[in-house]
């Protein structure tokens, strides 16, 4: 009796899940499909064509935006990783009482609405008369990426056995050496994972960048936004298709790496 009811239940759940997946993927699939549409207006299908992809390669401003995005992502990720890792280690060693307050303070950017962060940074830069540009965007990105790195590295740090490092110290190593030779290598994968995540977050960011960008600091998301606003649809379709496939590739890669790690342990 329960077996049959279970089957019905499973089937119903499967239907709901597939429905959810259809909801999640349908718009993306449509986008990719129409990026190959030869027609300018989406209304009718006028044959297969790669002309919009071609148009993208000729779009000089787009290439510059991509370059800016990469530059900002690399710089802000480097800063955020350095700050985040040292903060994670520092927090972990702090006595319990002082930890709680700082914990909350560091996590605040993660729950703050992006609009708020964007306007706050904008007003701050205006007040200190720092001109908007690549530098201000990088600063903003580093600021919201520090908690990202912090959370991931700390989670791993907590699972580590503190006695390993203590043992190294007992054997005569200076605290710094013990940290460098014992703890840091163990944290390695988490640090890499955190940097990759921070890099992606920075590449994708729109709202904070929107408020803090200045002359010549257009990033890829900003360019995509202005393309969407001016409604040049076929090229956006092609660009979106590329971005989607790039993300899928990255996710697949990251999962494959994780699988390899899990298998080798």
């Amino acid at each position: 009796m329960t077996g049959q009811a279970n089957d019905v239940r499973r089937r119903w759940l499967l239907a709901a899940s597939l429905g959810n997946l259809a909801f999640l993927y349908a718009p993306i699939v449509v986008l990719i499909a129409f990026s190959f549409n030869a027609a300018r207006l989406a209304a009718s299908w006028q044959g297969f064509s790669l002309r919009w992809y071609e148009a993208l390669t000729r779009d000089h401003a787009l290439m510059v935006a991509l370059q800016n995005s990469l530059l900002i992502a690399v710089a802000s990720t480097a800063i955020a990783t350095l700050l985040g890792v040292s903060a994670a280690v520092g927090l972990e060693r702090l006595p319990q009482r002082s930890r709680a307050a700082l914990d909350g303070a560091f996590l605040l950017p993660l729950v703050m609405p992006e609009v708020m962060m964007g306007v706050a940074l904008l007003l701050f830069f205006v007040l200190i008369k720092l001109p908007l540009g690549l530098l201000t965007v990088t600063i903003g990105h580093a600021a919201f990426n520090v908690p990202v790195v912090l959370v991931i590295v700390r989670a791993r740090l907590r699972k580590l056995d503190p006695s390993l490092e203590e043992a190294a110290r007992d054997l005569g190593a200076t605290p710094w050496r013990a940290f460098r030779r014992v703890t840091l290598p163990l944290l390695g994968p988490a640090i890499v994972g955190a940097s990759v995540l921070a890099f992606t977050v920075s590449l994708d960011d729109f709202v904070v960048t929107f408020f803090t960008a200045g002359p010549g600091a257009t990033t890829l998301p900003l360019k995509v936004y202005s393309m969407i606003k001016t409604g040049i649809s076929p090229e956006i379709n092609a660009l979106s298709a590329i971005l989607v496939l790039a993300s899928m590739g990255l996710v697949a890669l990251s999962l494959a790496i994780q699988q390899r790690q899990r298998l080798s342990q």
């Binding site: 899940s17 997946l21 700050l83 708020m116």
Partner: protein, 286 residues
């Protein structure tokens, strides 16, 4: 030997390690927030910009029914988004959690892939689908359900769809984590005891997965409340949510003090929500 002197060294080192991050966050995060707070008490210059005369007028202005309406609308939309995400996400999360281990990884990857795609692109995908000449209308007309294209794009409904679409993965993941920890034997026992599946759901499954449900709701509600991209692209500049209202005040009307006050009220709402969550005994979301 771990005596007191070593403890001091470690504590001092912790201070050194924390300092860079604290300084950065202090200068580029807390200080800007403080600036916003201060400006919310200033007056607007003639053509925009700030005049440093103290006034409570900005907060008083926000109490105007016109502005309260925007907050209420945003709150309502965020609530609706959360409700829909919960209803859609729960069956999906349950299915994945109870699936064989090999399949779980694949299902989760499938849910995560759209999540990893650029948010703008995902929102644009919906513009494409909801347009008068887009997929949805084409489908409905082909099925004979309607004879004329319906106007979904540039409406609250479009914004709702966009928000649910954007934040669904945020609901599914915590739910999955909670349901995975659910003890099947309890559920089976409940099925033996209760006649209806609904009772099993409401009296056993939901209470046991409550931390996951609350975490998921929080992760969807807060970003939805302060959403900017979705209402901006899918709303057609017809109706405002708090996010677009703040942008409107800063970059169109250039009333920075009012915009700052509005930001701070939003911030207060978020913090209140988090505080309520903590009080309800929720675990740390992260």
């Amino acid at each position: 030997m771990t005596g007191r002197p070593v403890h001091h060294t470690i504590a001092r080192q912790s201070a050194w390690l924390l300092a860079p991050a604290l300084v950065w966050m202090g200068v580029f995060f807390l200080l800007p927030l403080l600036v916003v707070f201060l400006i919310s008490f200033a007056s607007r210059g003639a053509y925009g910009g700030v005049e440093w005369t103290f006034t409570l007028a900005n907060y008083r202005d926000l109490a105007d029914p016109l502005y309260l309406y925007v907050y209420a609308r945003s709150f309502g939309l965020a609530l609706a988004t959360t409700a829909f995400c919960l209803c859609l996400g729960f069956p999906l999360a349950y299915y994945i959690a109870k699936a064989p281990a090999r399949w779980q990884g694949i299902w989760l990857a499938l849910v995560l892939i759209p999540f990893w795609t650029n948010f703008l692109v995902r929102t644009y995908a919906w513009i494409n689908v909801l347009r008068a000449d887009g997929l949805l209308n084409a489908l409905l007309m082909a099925l004979g359900i309607i004879s004329e294209p319906i106007d979904i794009l540039y409406s609250d409904l479009a914004v709702l769809i966009g928000l649910v679409y954007g934040y669904l993965p945020f609901m599914v993941l915590p739910l999955y984590a909670a349901i995975e920890r659910l003890d099947d034997s309890l559920v089976d026992a409940a099925r033996d005891l209760y006649a209806s599946g609904w009772a099993v759901l409401t009296r056993v499954i939901v209470p046991l997965t409550k931390p996951g449900i609350v975490a998921g709701c929080l992760l969807v509600f807060i970003p939805s409340l302060g959403a900017y991209i979705t209402p901006d692209l899918l709303g057609g500049a017809r109706s405002m949510m708090i996010g677009t209202f703040i942008q409107h005040e800063y970059l169109v009307v250039r009333d920075w003090p009012l915009g700052s006050a509005a930001s701070f009220v939003l911030m207060a709402m978020v913090v209140a929500g988090l505080w309520g969550y903590q009080r309800a005994g929720g675990e740390r979301p992260l």
